[in-house]
Symmetry: C2
Subunit: 476 residues, 2 copies
């Protein structure tokens, strides 16, 4: 542990113990620096980390103060909002999803319903330089060499990072794709046949619902806990009862709940899939956006038999709009590569080379540290704003990573109506029903905290809270 982390932890302990209370001023940087025998910059880093954790706030020209709302005043949901036990549904959700997504793309709308973080959080300048270099120095033959499975230099970099995260991968295990969405779709079509059934989470990423709908697959919805992820007992029942062709889920910072499945459960999940010989498609696009000390290992880290098809991308963590993702499909690697060859053939060659260069050059970890701190800070600001503005009885998850918060409004609230009203006020939200084949979660919202917390964002959250209050007040 570094010095600044140790210092931050000590101060956090004082706040938790009540030694420092809401509104208290932290000792000045110079004072702390002298007393602890560390540099001023270490103290600054510690205070910044505490700010990222939502425990203190800076006031201009006055110093740092213990935050008014230490974590916990906004209740977290503790129960899944969906019925227990796998429910079986034909999927028909696309129209509504498109309507919501299109509304979130307008530049004049506050993007609380957006699926993307702000592009301004990314090292676009440095990436642009790498792309410019790659474009100037490209070997003409690379257009052929970088055909599927993709650039060897890039696959080497991805394998190197995967190794550090507990996954023993090498370049031949990887297929480069047009973003994670293509990886997920290729994996799904490599392991299923039309008419089959697939286990998904409830609530789940709507992209899974759309994929199932398009491929003529049925959804088996398994309840997913806002704190710990998919209910494994319910999953086992579903595996026995429905003989699904695949399981599709997110194990870290799930979209839309933000939940992180504990390591032991990930391990049990992989064992379950392996025992039943069911391919496990793991969507791990938010894994790099952890707020804790270490990257949580994905389920793939526990995969000894090759049943896990791990999918990830750079779109959420490094290079939005570049559409570079990958699959590590285990025993299905060849099948997935062939799906790719017959659908989109290959992935843009110069961009693959540019990303390999960027990763080789070594700036990525510094960028990621900064990105995680920013998102952690935004999470706390979002929680504060919801606690302040939203009606009594509102609950919200406290994600340990990613940029989505799941908000459960009082039961009487209609999230689809709220979505329409908010849009009329220039605010987009993602209503709960788009995350479910059975259109559940009618009183829930997914809110995106990956955008700057400027005045218009603050005002939008206040307006949204007011609209939610009106939702539940008795009609005149």
């Amino acid at each position: 542990m570094t010095r600044y982390q140790a210092l931050a932890d000590d101060i956090e302990a004082s706040i938790t113990a009540g030694v420092l209370r809401a509104g208290d001023k932290l000792p000045s940087v110079r004072h702390t620096s002298e007393r602890r025998g560390v540099s001023a910059s270490t103290v600054f880093q510690a205070y910044y980390l505490l700010e990222a954790r939502g425990l203190v706030r800076a006031r201009e020209r006055s110093g740092y103060f213990v935050a008014a709302r230490p974590r916990g005043t906004l209740p977290q949901p503790t129960q899944p909002s969906a019925p227990a036990g796998g429910s079986f549904a034909v999927v028909d959700v696309s129209e509504r999803v498109f309507e919501v997504l299109e509304s979130a793309m307008d530049r004049d709308v506050v993007p609380l319903g957006s699926a993307f973080p702000s592009p301004q959080l990314f090292p676009l300048r440095r990436l642009g330089q790498c792309l410019a270099q790659a474009a100037r120095e490209a070997d003409p033959r690379a257009a052929i060499d970088d055909l599927t499975p993709g650039s060897l230099a890039l696959r080497r970099q991805i394998a190197r990072r995967a190794l550090a995260d507990g996954m023993a991968l090498s370049p031949p295990d990887l297929v480069i794709t047009n973003g994670a969405l293509e990886a997920l779709n290729l994996c799904l079509s490599a392991v299923t046949r039309p008419g089959g059934a697939v286990v998904i989470e409830s609530p789940c990423f709507y992209g899974a619902l759309q994929a199932l709908e398009r491929m003529g697959l049925s959804a088996i919805e398994v309840p997913t806990h806002p704190g710990e992820g998919m209910d494994l007992a319910a999953l086992e029942t579903a595996l026995q009862r429905h003989k699904p062709q695949a399981i599709w889920l997110m194990t870290s910072f799930q979209n839309p709940l933000g939940c992180l499945m504990p390591e032991a459960r990930k391990k049990a999940l992989v064992e379950l899939a392996t025992r039943h010989c069911v391919p496990l498609i793991e969507d791990d696009v938010y894994g790099e956006l952890y707020f804790g000390e270490h990257r949580p290992p994905p389920a793939k880290a526990f995969d000894t038999e090759g049943w896990v098809l791990h999918c990830a991308s750079f779109s959420k963590s490094l290079a939005p709009g570049w559409r570079i993702g990958w699959a590590a499909p285990g025993r299905f690697a060849r099948a997935v590569a062939r799906q790719k060859l017959t659908t989109t053939l290959a992935t843009n060659a110069p961009t693959q080379q540019a990303l390999a260069r960027y990763l080789e050059s070594g700036g990525v970890d510094r960028h990621l540290r900064r990105l995680r701190q920013t998102l952690a800070l935004h999470r706390d600001r979002m929680a504060d704003a919801i606690a302040r503005h939203f009606p009594e009885g509102t609950q919200a998850t406290r994600p340990e990573g990613g940029y989505f918060m799941w908000v459960q409004l009082p039961q009487r609230c209609d999230a689809l109506a709220l979505h329409r009203q908010a849009l009329a006020h220039g605010i987009s939200v993602a209503p709960g029903p788009i995350f479910s084949a059975s259109q559940a979660f009618g009183h829930c919202l997914r809110l995106n905290y990956g955008h700057p917390f400027d005045e218009s964002m603050q005002a939008a959250l206040a307006t949204l809270g007011q609209l939610a209050r009106q939702c539940i007040s008795p009609r005149p």
Copy 2:
């Protein structure tokens, strides 16, 4: 018509009339320049054009001579090699296609079987500069703005060029895709349901066979004439008999035949599809590679009711490896965009911007002129080599564009065996059966003339001819 074209035409007329014969020396540039009252550079251009047409050849330090083999000494096939009338087949061809494609990717193999032209034919330097500029100057919000249907600036450039080619398109009609292969696949899945049937050409692009196989669709193979494209009478019978969900074909410089459907037939084809309300998926990736005076209009140019889904890309004409294509899906535009949103979401943003810049900057027509001249010259060299080395009875198409020649060997020749033998000699070829759901064309080859005609290419064609001769000699 320009001066140099007029001059070239006059000389070609003299050759056709026998006034100038094989081996005759053309008048010197100075002489012709004085006699015709044109500049020396005009004469050079005319001679170059005649060389591109295969009518004359330059000998170093001696001038230009009428070519030894004026066109016509290599017989062209006049009949389709497939059975007449639509034959119905379940598709199961992918394994063999992959085997052939993989063999053509090895850098040490002479790529006569490759699907790609040489990357060295493209303005990679200038494209790299555009990509570098786009990367440096990109608006961070472009990652969101350029989501499907794609960059407005690029769609505007594509629409502008389409207009010049007789297609009245505007940006909302277009969806940018990861190459034409994605465009074709999205169109196919937007208009078909598993279990249906689709009309394809015989022989046809194997990508169509793979798509049908993957989506669980049956193939109705309609004979395609090496000179004029799909047999429309057989198509009409197939439409009546099998009620297909779509027609998929290439109307210009068809892969693998190289044939160009005449305008009147294209018009009749669109009328037929419209009358039967059958979506017509038109693969037009080689349309820009014409050797005549003008780009032949695609079938889309005759589409008044929106039944034609036109697909094209920059991969063959401008930027290999960049994976930028598009669809103009007529009445299915919205459905195709939604297929894209749920499968690969979007296309690489910086590359779209770079292509828009390149097209705005205006160098593309000069590049295309040079590319067409080079390919036309290669076509004639390929025809010469085949006439010189291949066994008696060999026929080959004389494509008016693109970079594929279809070679019909004597019936006793087994193209699959020849493919394996050639590979053992470091030469790849594309054997006929990979272009047919019913594995027809067992004595045919597709040869790629899009690579430099250097010594190893010349030697490879001689070796290939010898192997083909051995194929048909009586066994000892």
